[in-house]
């Protein structure tokens, strides 16, 4: 089994919004599985007991005084990781869908392939979206193909919350704005020349709380992501031109 490179500082970041039902368990499992990694929970203005449950949990807590949304919570983690000099940032969902024990294999692959972003992918092996509700399946196929057309490489799981982000990618991810750090962020990074890969992982269905996607956001999300993806192509090309 491949092992991650020793001596590289890693930060696990968990964005949490109203995750009182699962946060303690997720923090406990991360600390047990990855004792060598530091742990940051970004409490994104939760209105439930998430903040109280994080006291004495062993995690560093970045407290948003109001809800800023998923992408801004991730951006806070990226900013923190950049300032504290971490080499890698690993993002995990707070609902317990991701198994922290899979992170070691993800980190090893990240080091071997010398990537800038590695996505824990649910679909890279099967290359199909069987079992996904129809509306989401169409959206996933559309954005997966759009990434292939605009960035030259197909990414099968553009919406995964389990990612490893290398230090080199910290700066571009805080220089521009994204919706959910999904397809639009991947295209932006890939157009800038960053190396993005996928590694197979398994997830369990969420048992508590609600998904961050409401019915209305399922209509708005594709339009916003499509627009930002196209703007990401323009922005990345402009950035490259300015740099050269």
């Amino acid at each position: 089994m491949l092992m991650p490179s020793p001596g590289r500082r890693s930060l696990i970041a968990i964005p949490a919004y109203n995750e009182a039902a699962t946060i303690r368990d997720v923090v406990g499992r991360v600390r047990a599985s990855l004792p060598e990694c530091d742990l940051l929970v970004v409490n994104d203005g939760s209105g439930d007991d998430t903040a109280a449950l994080l006291i004495d949990s062993g995690a560093i807590v970045a407290e948003h005084i109001c809800n800023l949304g998923y992408s801004r919570a991730i951006q806070t983690a990226v900013l923190y990781a950049a300032r504290a000099g971490y080499d890698r940032l690993i993002t995990l969902d707070a609902d317990g869908q991701h198994d922290p024990q899979q992170v070691q294999a993800l980190l090893a692959q990240f080091d071997v392939e010398q990537l800038d972003v590695l996505i824990g992918s649910r679909y890279v092996v099967s290359r199909s979206y069987a079992g996904v509700p129809f509306g989401r399946r169409i959206g996933m196929q559309l954005f997966s193909r759009l990434v292939a057309v605009t960035a030259g490489r197909r990414i099968y799981d553009t919406t995964s919350g389990l990612k490893v982000i290398g230090r080199r990618a910290f700066e571009p991810l805080t220089q521009w704005h994204f919706i959910d750090f999904h397809a639009e962020a991947l295209v932006y990074l890939m157009r800038l020349g960053f190396r993005v890969g996928e590694f197979p992982v398994t997830v369990v269905e969420r048992r508590h709380g609600r998904s961050m996607y409401s019915t209305i956001s399922l209509l708005k999300y594709p339009l916003k992501t499509l627009l930002m993806l196209l703007l990401g192509v323009i922005q990345a090309d402009l950035t490259r031109k300015r740099a050269s």
Partner: protein, 122 residues
């Protein structure tokens, strides 16, 4: 609508589109607002450039609300003003967001210094 009116309308639509897209790209207009303006403007341009569609829309709108044609100019001004107002809202909310993130990061840094995590250099 006269051919000159169609050309003026289409040019104004294109200018609005370029302005809105540039504002979104620079982070000065939230993409959730911007996407409404982009879709609305694109639809208006398509209607303007398709004569039969324009006739049908004009007939329907006049049948519902008979307004003088100068009203179109007022609507255009309102649209540009609306983009400006949403831009100001976005700029303010961006400042609140940066402040919130900065406070969160500083709080986390304080915690990290007072309780070093395993693996962190002392």
């Amino acid at each position: 609508m006269t051919p000159a009116g169609v050309i003026v309308g289409a040019v104004m639509g294109c200018l609005l589109l370029i302005w809105v897209i540039n504002l979104i790209r620079n982070g000065r207009l939230y993409v959730g607002y911007g996407v409404i303006f982009v879709l609305g403007t694109l639809t208006a341009i398509v209607v303007l450039l398709a004569p039969r569609l324009l006739e049908a829309v004009t007939a329907a709108s006049v049948a519902l609300v008979p307004v003088p044609s100068i009203g179109v100019g007022a609507i255009a001004i309102m649209l540009f003003l609306l983009v400006y107002v949403f831009t100001q809202i976005t700029i303010l909310s961006n400042r609140v967001m940066h402040l919130t993130q900065e406070l969160a990061i500083r709080g986390a840094q304080r915690q990290s210094r007072s309780h070093p995590e395993p693996g962190e250099p002392t």
